[in-house]
């Protein structure tokens, strides 16, 4: 069953403008959706609403036909910062969510091993969080999210704080894992290249109010080659759509002076 987003709006107290206005789209099972748009357009707000960490001021969201009213383990979020717990080591962090869910020790051990091997961190399982690199931290966070076996994985610019090489590696890793696990992924990014590389469909949000501006389908075969002509053509098309929005934001910011 899909995730349905129906006329979702979010108005923050004190500001007259709606951060999100009448957002509607449906995410199908097993789909990889990227949400792109200029910074400040409400991408993260939308993700937080889907996660249940924030409530919409209008409209509603349904996952598998039931309305979303709060956070839950069926929609695990991976944040821009790793959000790992420094008092736990790598494997304890990975087991954290499973412990909350009350899974048996054996099950916890088995899943932690499976996903830590998937993100190639099994050898580092006893390391403390401060002893591993930024990329490894995000991979740990990814393993922690995957362990919960949630059908929907929400990702809020998870790679944006990392260096270019690490990002490229993690993108391919994520694509493989997505294909292997068959999860539905909702991935917020400001990088059009990242969106074209990963997504089945790309939802471009406009700014002030944040509305769905356009939804692009990316039908390129996987794994995608970043410098192929088809890739660049789609990237260019989406980029010009996003850039018009970025310019709008820039103009507005000048006006406010």
């Amino acid at each position: 069953m899909p995730l349905e987003i129906k006329n979702v709006s979010r108005l923050f107290e004190g500001s007259k403008k709606e951060t999100l206005k009448n957002i509607s789209f449906t995410v199908n099972d097993g789909e990889f959706i990227c949400i792109a748009g200029p910074s400040g357009c409400g991408k993260s707000t939308l993700l937080n609403i889907i996660a249940g960490l924030d409530r919409p001021t209008g409209g509603k969201l349904c996952l598998n036909g039931t309305e979303i009213t709060g956070p839950g383990a069926d929609r695990v979020v991976m944040f821009q910062e790793h959000a790992l717990y420094p008092w736990l080591n790598v494997i304890e962090n990975v087991k954290f969510g499973m412990k909350l869910a009350g899974l048996s020790k054996n099950e916890q051990e088995a899943r932690a091993e499976r996903y830590l091997k998937m993100v190639r961190l099994w050898d580092f399982r006893n390391y403390r969080i401060h002893e591993i690199s930024g990329g490894m931290r995000q991979r740990t966070a990814l393993a922690r999210s995957l362990c919960l076996d949630s059908p929907l994985l929400l990702m809020d610019e998870p790679f944006s704080a990392l260096d270019k090489q690490t990002i490229n590696k993690l993108r391919s890793d994520l694509e493989c894992i997505w294909e292997e696990t068959g999860k539905t992924v909702l991935f917020v990014t400001h990088s059009v290249e990242e969106a074209v590389f990963l997504a089945d469909r790309i939802v471009v949000l406009s700014d002030h109010p944040g509305c769905v501006k356009e939804i692009f389908s990316v039908d390129l075969p996987r794994p995608r080659v970043i410098d192929s002509a088809e890739f660049l053509a789609i990237r260019h098309k989406i980029l010009s759509c996003v850039e018009r929005e970025v310019e709008k934001v820039a103009e507005k910011e000048y006006d406010y002076r």
């Binding site: 839950g72 695990v76 717990y85 008092w87 954290f96 969510g97 909350l100």
Partner: protein, 256 residues
């Protein structure tokens, strides 16, 4: 490391030497002070020796430490409850926290009249003064430690399906631990000070009492000797217990 220790020791020796010189100049050469009004290093040392030999000091110190620790742990228990209540409810955060901050600034000796009226002269009143002297500090330490937890820790746990209780047991308490330990150091010093207020008024044994006994005998050297012991014990507990604990926790998390 070793040179730093030697340096510290030499500095201490220098201070004692300065003190001796001041004593000789002040009481002997210039006659600024009467000899009984100014302690001397030698007099303090003799006083210490006397107090150790007749067993007073050991007995008083163990007695005081026992009182301080029991009062501190009681304050820890009660203060933790209030700290958790304040941090869990925006109503109490708005209304109770400023009150606690205000009461915390009240010197604990102000509670002594209440202590004597309610509990009489004795152990219970001293315990009361210690608890009331540090319980607000403990509450505020807990509240502050919880306040400064990165919000993302809680967000992440909630999206992984944590219940409110799990949020406390699995995230809030471990995440608040380093900040709380730092706050406890201050609470300990509040306890230790409050103990002295209590003992000065209503004890028959203890460091505070020994200090007052020195005053009653006009023995400024004994007063100074006890003061030094009070400082030393406060420092030793701080270093031995709290600093070690804090360092251990911080090291484990890569923060030190």
């Amino acid at each position: 490391m070793i040179t730093a220790k030697i340096q510290g020791l030499l500095f201490l020796l220098f201070l004692i030497l300065l003190w001796q010189v001041l004593y000789i100049l002040g009481t002997g050469v210039f006659k600024w002070w009467k000899p009984y009004a100014l302690p001397s290093p030698r007099g303090v040392l003799l006083s210490l020796q006397k107090l150790i030999q007749n067993g007073t000091l050991i007995h008083a110190t163990t007695c005081s430490i026992r009182r301080a620790l029991s009062g501190f742990f009681l304050a820890l228990l009660i203060g933790s409850v209030f700290g958790l209540i304040i941090s869990a409810s925006s109503f109490f955060k708005r209304n109770l926290k400023p009150l606690f901050t205000g009461i915390q600034s009240l010197p604990s000796i102000c509670w002594v009249p209440f202590a004597i009226l309610w509990f009489g002269l004795g152990e219970a009143s001293i315990l009361f003064v210690i608890v009331i002297g540090s319980v607000f500090s403990v509450s505020l330490a807990i509240e502050n430690a919880i306040q400064t937890i990165p919000p993302i820790y809680l967000k992440a746990a909630r999206t992984m399906g944590a219940s409110r209780i799990q949020l406390y047991t699995s995230v809030i308490i471990p995440a608040a631990l380093p900040g709380f330990l730092a706050g406890l150091k201050q609470s300990w010093s509040f306890s230790w000070r409050a103990l002295m207020s209590g003992e000065v008024i209503s004890a028959y044994v203890g460091l505070g009492y020994t200090l007052m006994a020195g005053r009653d005998m006009a023995d400024i050297n004994q007063v100074t000797a006890v003061m030094l012991v009070i400082i030393a014990v406060g420092m030793i507990v701080d270093k031995l217990v709290f600093s070690n604990l804090e360092r251990h926790v911080l090291k484990k998390r890569g923060l030190a």
